[in-house]
Symmetry: C2
DNA sequence: ACAACCAGGGCAAGGGGTTGTCAAAAGTTG
DNA sequence: CAACTTTTGACAACCCCTTGCCCTGGTTGT
């Protein structure tokens, strides 16, 4: 399949190829009448400029890549959706990459795409700081659920969110929580932990941590057992998937939720509102995060790489109170 | 960002650019020693062939597009995941497109990508047959959850699946089912309906249909109410999302599930196993469907468009028995 | 009436690779 | 050692589009 080229249009319209090109990209450099004629001919021929040829010399691709740490996690759906829609709105293509929780794969894929995208949205990147900095020197990069001084990012306000969680638990009479941590290389995991600890300190509440765990349902059993031995009355799981697994294990062990133990998750995935008991979780507009990330990226790709401090979009979180948390016995 | 080119490699290695090119693409046309030397130099320079330049004349892009009717639907996660992994395994990039349940958007996006991908996987395409045929003439196309004579496709065996559903309901004593239909332009919706009807006929069971409905939770209320007036004892919803919405509405109307009414869904999404009551649903290896679809596409892209009849991969389905179905009162 | 301008449009050089053609170098055979 | 066949590698055209530069013909100013 080879569509009509600029040459076909040019000869059909009786002008030079440069005129056709300009009719599209630099309208001011071409007479109004000529321009219209060219456009009409192009339309009639079904001409579409070849993106590769264009990319070849402009290094502009109308494509952004989004790398997610694990596409299996339903939490990313919203993020992906928001990113996809924003990209489409600007007539950009969204390339989706799954890093499978592996820094190596993540880096490999990024290298592969380096010459053919305008920039990267890295969601919960597992890459070490140096790699990120090096990458950012070559292409615009926007971080999601991760921060690095000097790089723009979009994320939910987990510091405030963790405070909400702690306040909620505090008001229910809990004096001891345990954080069921996410992966070691997850920036989000350390952020949540330190925010929880700070908030707990302020409330005079004890905060322990167990883990790290891979944040999947299957790991919930392990996490639940580990958390139980701390004696905490409130379990804060790294995400909803883990929380759901934890609840299942607790039920299996005849520990009542929330009568004996309260459980809180993060992300407010679709299933959090459907499981039993319905899960109290820290939600936020993930789609907006995806949207914002792509937006920042597109802006960065247009103007020169650096002007002013990097953008930092922080969206609010809200604790969705449901049935998995309750007053301490 | 402009990486080293083939020229840099050539001069660094002291050979012609054509030699470098052939060292990569046509090893047999180059001396073993020369080849190794070139490769070493390239590696050392961090050279990566520019995909655009290559695509420009070979019309081969190492990219496949996957169009889904609605990215919001969790059912697609698995499909996307399978497709993404298969594409990656062949060092191809997966471009994700959301058609937002609109044939117009679907077509627009496809046009946009036409010159830059090797082919399309169309999941639950809402496009009319003519469009599909026309598209297939330009690029390899693989259908998912849809069939069209002449085009390859990958799908789950819903005919058998519907038979399983009917047999299951029959064995529970149900004599009257109603299908809560999906969108009018959905091939899957008509397929399921006709398969259900056939199976019901064979079992001497009455089968009604209501709808069409947009297969989302929010539409469940409407669907449930419509289904109730048919007097059927078994509701077969177009997908799990709709089924979940239906169950919620039934509970709200004090109709007990499954004591008063049995509900069956399709897809076996993650949440189906978590909601209350847990949903009986027709499952299948969706990831494998995605994998198969990309695999077919890749093969089709290599050899000439047409040789032999189009591949048709049908994967088995299995009814996941859970709590939303029970014996008729 | 003529110089100075300017808008509109054409020419041609890339941008990074691939590939058909061809000549030089190397190896074979008698 | 001449005549001939195989490798190897170099040249250059081409893929499609963008863009700097130049040329033309028409305006404007004095």
């Amino acid at each position: 399949m080879r569509g009509p080229t600029i040459y076909d249009v040019a000869s059909a319209a009786g002008v030079a190829t440069s005129t056709v090109s300009r009719a599209f990209s630099t309208p001011s450099r071409v007479g109004a009448a000529t321009r219209e004629h060219v456009l009409a001919v192009a339309e009639q021929l079904g001409y579409r400029p070849n993106p590769h040829a264009r990319a070849l010399l402009s290094d502009h691709h109308s494509t952004v890549a989004m790398v997610v740490s694990d596409i299996t996690n339903p939490h990313y759906f919203e993020l992906i959706r928001g990113a996809e829609m924003r990209a489409k709105a600007s007539e950009h293509t969204l390339v989706l990459v799954n890093a499978e929780e592996s820094a190596r794969i993540e880096l490999e894929q990024i290298q592969r795409l380096l010459p053919s995208v305008d920039g990267f949205v890295l969601a919960a990147s597992r890459l070490p700081d140096e790699n990120l900095a090096h990458l950012a020197a070559q292409r615009p990069v926007v971080l999601v659920s991760r921060e690095l001084p000097g790089l723009p990012c979009a994320l939910l306000d987990h510091v405030d969110g963790c405070r909400q969680i702690v306040q909620h638990l505090d008001s229910l009479g809990h004096r001891h929580l345990v954080y069921l941590a996410g992966p070691r290389s997850s920036w989000m995991a350390s952020t949540r932990w330190s925010a929880l600890r700070t908030a707990a300190d302020e409330a005079g509440m004890r905060a322990d941590r167990v883990g790290p765990f891979t944040p999947k349902v299957a790991q919930g059993g392990l996490a639940a057992d580990a958390a139980l031995v701390t004696g905490a009355t409130a379990f804060v799981a790294h995400n909803d998937l883990l929380a759901i697994g934890v609840v299942q294990r607790l039920q299996q062990r005849m520990v009542r939720v929330p009568a004996d133990v309260s459980v809180v998750g993060f992300d407010d995935i679709f299933a959090a509102d459907l499981c039993t008991p319905r899960l109290t979780t820290l939600g936020g507009a993930h789609a907006d995060v995806g949207r914002a990330a792509v937006e920042i990226l597109l802006k960065a790709a247009v103007r020169g790489t650096a002007d002013g401090p990097p953008v930092r979009v922080v969206l609010p979180t809200e604790l969705r109170l449901r049935e998995s948390t309750g007053p301490v016995a």
